[in-house]
Symmetry: C2
Subunit: 258 residues, 2 copies
């Protein structure tokens, strides 16, 4: 089977032009088929502030009202995505910027309202593996923004970690997939203040234990849930690492183990 590397990048790495450029250079050195999935860091919040759009939060999660949807379409779908595509082209990668709506690659449903109305937030329903395969086999490098659509004309703000995991799962039948969650830290840490405390291999039972013990912190939990979900669905390797590690993935970061 062909190898496919899916790198999800977010947080400060995307916000800072220099760190993003460095990451894209390293990304360009990965051989074989590849897909980049990007988040937007705090750039949408910053743009919303400039435009006087209030960022509504509940339980630490953003509510995407109509005005905020416009902001994420602009910032994630336009500004960040197109700048990444242009840089990738300059680095010799024939990239193509995509949201879930483009070629209908990732369809979602507007999150049902239970206790909380998250507004225009999407929960992934389906990934069109065939469309990704067509692009990959023609030599293209998809660059995916954290946006989906509902198939009825509505764009939806969607979690980039989940989109990366769902894409990895959908493509695991046809490729030997490595999924890399790339963020500021060198991996999953035993001590959040010590970058030398990377857990090289993290099993699901250890994850659950560390979660119970409070060793693995709040923000990391949904990322690891997504990662183990992908691993159990046939993704070959799931790695949590920082941008410096993506050229030598075998040796660095935290590798998940079932």
């Amino acid at each position: 089977m062909q190898k496919l590397t899916i790198v999800k990048v977010g947080g400060k790495v995307v916000e800072d032009v220099e760190s993003l450029m460095k990451l894209l250079e390293d990304f360009s050195r990965i051989s074989g088929r590849k897909i980049l999935v990007h988040g937007g860091g705090k750039s949408a919040t910053a743009m919303a502030e400039k435009l006087g759009v209030k960022t509504e939060m509940t339980g630490g999660r953003r509510i995407t009202n109509k005005e905020m949807l416009d902001v994420v379409l602009m910032v994630y779908g336009g500004l960040i995505n197109k700048n990444i595509v242009a840089k990738c082209q300059a680095l010799g990668m024939n990239s193509v910027g995509l949201t879930g709506a483009d070629l209908n690659i990732i369809k979602a449903v507007k999150r049902p309202v239970k206790d909380i109305d998250y507004g225009y937030a999407g929960d992934v329903v389906s990934v069109q593996a065939k469309q990704f395969e067509n692009l990959l086999e023609s030599g293209a490098v998809p660059v995916v923004a954290p946006l989906t659509h509902d198939g009825r004309g509505l764009m939806l703000n969607t979690n980039a970690d989940t989109m990366a995991a769902e894409t990895a799962k959908a493509l695991a039948d046809g490729y030997e997939v490595t999924l890399v969650y790339c963020f500021e830290k060198p991996g999953v840490l035993m001590d959040p203040d010590d970058d030398n405390s990377v857990i090289p291999v993290l099993s699901y039972s250890d994850f659950k234990k560390y979660q119970k013990d409070g060793i693995i912190s709040e923000g990391m939990i949904p990322k690891l849930d997504n990662g183990f979900d992908a691993l159990m669905a046939g993704v070959k390797d799931v790695i949590i690492s920082n941008p410096e590690s993506i050229v030598k993935l075998n040796d660095l970061g935290t590798h998940l183990a079932s």
Copy 2:
């Protein structure tokens, strides 16, 4: 040869959600291969104002400074393009939003500074017919935003009329291409105040004569220059019309004739 219809839409048609939806419904009824190229109307200027970015103009033309480039990337590449793509998908068209950077389909050069520095404005250098063909033959409907790249990592603000004409020219070898410039008026008018004064067939010599006599107005001239350029390069039919006409193109609008 397969028929290909390229519709360029801009101005108030894009600014107003209702007129845009109506246009997309009509566009969905065009049979055969098709491409939509959209401008942004005044929406970028409005967003720039909200963000406190000054719109610099010289001789009636916009100067794209760095801040304005960010605004057009957001508004054209993100907000407008992705909303159109989502609506097209809802109408059963497997649309894919593209700038010139995506799949390197339209490369440009930053406009050289002579008397005036237009900033981050792109002059089209090349169109990758092959990439368009791959998408069209796979059943996709490209939705092109008025943005290109220079191949060195820079996105560029680019005239949508020119992008439509250059795309039509590049695809004229492989398809029987109809290029439609769709705007508010029902065609090229003998009297700008009388919508019943449409010129049904406009020859190049008449165009030049009307231009000299001041009958054809300022804003229409570059559009017609682009149109005749495409016609002379092998595009089968070039039509200037309003959105109402695009479902019965043979009977309505102004058809250019060499």
